[in-house]
Symmetry: C2
Subunit: 439 residues, 2 copies
């Protein structure tokens, strides 16, 4: 979808005008092209903790340099050595001199210890403080820079590579100001980081268009065989997507009583399993609560939330999700912050967050992870149809001053889906360019 | 501090003009006056769970009616009986018919079970979904209505009164869209709910002006003897506040090495204890990280975060905080969402959140609670000095379309300080009129 303002603001004349008028300055975000390396250039690694050395090693093996002069593609700071609030000064010491040495669309990653796993309250306090620092850096550095905080559990030092690769690459162009938790896990690194999903079977619901289509395409690019599901009414665009990515099309209404059973039969017969389940299908039925009909509540809640529960439970009961399985659900910023006219939608999407958080420990015993993405303003047909003022407000009110693309959501899901991401479960990551709107 | 737009928008001519131009419509918020009852009028209670009946009883004993025709002063829904996502329909059934029957500055409270204490993932998912619903109601109902979600742990049914009184009263005028957790605790209800702090000794740091002054005044109104602390340079306004509320003035620089020891000596000699500690003292030293001097980092972190740690530890080590003690820290929305030019401030205020969350379990064994408030845009001398555009942006970008008053922060702190609030610990409550800005 087009964003003519961002295009204009990146012409020579546009840049000058935008500066003179004090308008938002959206930069053209660098995005990943198939075959590119995840990491390149120089990523400066600082800090003194249990992660700096292993991270330097994996970055070098991934093809990046970890020292030398700027401009840098990334700045990674290991804050796990910070034991109390006075030690936070190390953040200043590392970032202050290099704050202006990042390339456009640069990357900042701070690595910490999950506060809840710290030995004492003073250490936990300092580790929790990192979040305020990182979110401020993400708002301040500008020019397409992203900044994230990754809490790495003690013992999870080997589980961090897929996350660093994602967060340092152009794949995370529209992910910023996020907090990610990596736990200890037996990680099987992909044989080939450019085709990490080789040999995997994936299901994507709502795959006929928009974000779902982008998810299907990115998972296929990464090597998965993708079963594209959508309602029968979307049969034509669905087939087109499935054919184009050499996947399969499956027409199914998820609200029908026999849908879970039909999915079980489908995967039992065709593949014997499904490795990756992406719950993307969802609808909006906006109305203020006073004007909302019963039906708008019921049908939305069923598609956006209850059907996900039914499908997960059926696939698990039929033993179709093997160890190493991945469930990724699509939540929404509305589910985090609420929204006028969306009591139904926000409840369903907050429920998705609960689904992910409280199924994570249950699924861990089966070797299955479950995570969620929460898109902000993403350029789709849906947002293109918004009134101009609402659309422009949503587009510009984030640290990138622009909307995201469906591919940004898809890349985030592919990161969760990777065999390398066994240490990630129960996470909710916003794909919102660090939207100012929040809870 | 004045907000001339809100005053104007509440005149007859102003109301008409604001409507015609589609401008924000801030209503004049009802605030508490000393001696008023916390709860009055009719508070409709619905839902079927373990809380509806006890809540009806306590509301009636508190002087409210719990059934009858609207307009209502409050709507309370007990959602603890909702066992899965299909059961969420009960929210719609209760709120849809009465969504327009609230008085201006009405109150909505939804009561749930903490998802982490639910018996199974489906129940946890449904309980987590409540948050999206409540935040949407808070954005949608308008006219000064607030809406909150209170998670009441099983067994904490008797610990909820102070929280309901606060959230249903005009004391919470600028608190909306918040999630509060009440745990099981031995609660001693105050003998007199209009003077709940009778006989208590309180310390308020940074009490010479602004929010700190308001805190001192409200705690004194509620019956506490307040020790007002500020730096020697603020000696004169400090004495004026202390005299006015019949408290004590204590000039002390919290960054001095002997400050914790001097506090210990002060309370040992004068009172033998301190029941309520309010960490309000804090500074800003805004600069982008690239331009920030070392000193701006160090002095800010010391005052805003490290000094709180030192004071708590010294008072606890000297056994001056008795069982029933209360610590309340002032965080900030910047600590939650980050802010451009505030890497230092946001880190310190995020650290305060960590301090509260990770000291709560440690202090619980001593019968002491610790909570935080996170103010949004509050009208003070500091905000009055902001450039107009920044000020108006901050003021209007919340569900109340206006800034809060220092007293709104103070009332929230007084709620945490109450003997009735033994079940509240580790909470972070924003006083921000449900600011749109978030994380």
């Amino acid at each position: 979808m087009s964003d003519r303002y961002t295009s204009f603001a990146n012409t020579t004349a546009g840049r000058a005008m935008v500066k003179r008028l004090g308008l938002p300055e959206p930069v053209r975000l660098r995005r990943y092209r198939a075959g590119d390396p995840d990491i390149e250039g120089t990523v400066l690694v600082g800090g003194a903790g249990r992660l700096a050395e292993p991270v330097r090693k994996l970055l070098r093996e991934g093809g990046a340099s970890t020292e030398g002069e700027g401009p840098y593609t990334g700045l990674v700071f290991d804050a796990t050595g910070i034991a109390d609030s006075t030690g936070l000064r190390a953040l200043y010491d590392f970032f202050h001199p290099v704050a202006r040495s990042l390339r456009p669309c640069g990357r900042v990653v701070v690595l910490g210890t999950p506060p809840e796993e710290c030995g004492n309250p003073r250490e936990a306090t300092a580790q929790r403080a990192l979040e305020g620092f990182v979110r401020s850096v993400a708002k301040e550095f500008g020019r397409g820079t992203t900044a994230q905080l990754v809490y790495v559990a003690p013992g999870a030092e080997d589980a961090v590579e897929s996350t660093l690769r994602f967060l340092l690459s152009p794949k995370s162009a529209y992910v910023s100001g996020q907090v990610v938790r990596v736990g200890a896990a037996d990680v099987t690194a992909p044989a080939n980081w450019t085709r990490p999903l080789e040999g995997k079977v994936a299901l994507v619901t709502g795959a006929a268009r928009g974000i779902g289509e982008a998810i299907a395409r990115v998972l296929a690019r990464d090597g998965a065989h993708v079963v594209c599901l959508d309602v029968p009414a979307a049969g034509q665009p669905l087939s087109a997507v499935a054919n184009d990515i050499k996947g399969s099309a499956l027409q199914l209404d998820l609200t029908s009583t026999d849908a879970p059973q039909r999915l079980v039969e489908y995967f039992s017969e065709r593949n014997g399993r499904v490795d990756i389940v992406v719950h993307n299908a969802g609808i909006t039925r906006d109305k203020t609560l006073a004007r909302m009909s019963e039906d708008k509540w019921d049908v939305l809640m069923d598609i956006n939330l209850s059907s996900q529960e039914r499908v997960n439970d059926a696939l698990l009961a039929a033993d179709l999700l093997p160890s190493g399985g991945r469930i990724v659900a699509v939540s929404s910023m509305s589910g985090i912050a609420g929204n006028r006219g969306q009591t139904n939608y926000a409840a369903s999407k907050a429920g998705v967050i609960g689904l992910v958080q409280f199924n994570a420990p249950v699924l861990a015993s089966k070797g299955v992870t479950i995570n969620a993405v929460a898109p902000g303003f993403i350029e789709t047909q849906m947002t293109a149809a918004m009134p101009m003022v609402v659309r422009e407000g949503g587009r510009r009110m984030n640290s990138m001053s622009q909307g995201g693309q469906p591919v940004d959501v898809a890349e985030t899901i592919a990161w969760f889906a990777s065999p390398g991401s066994a240490g990630l479960t129960g996470n909710v990551v916003r794909v919102c360019g660090q939207s100012l709107l929040g809870a």
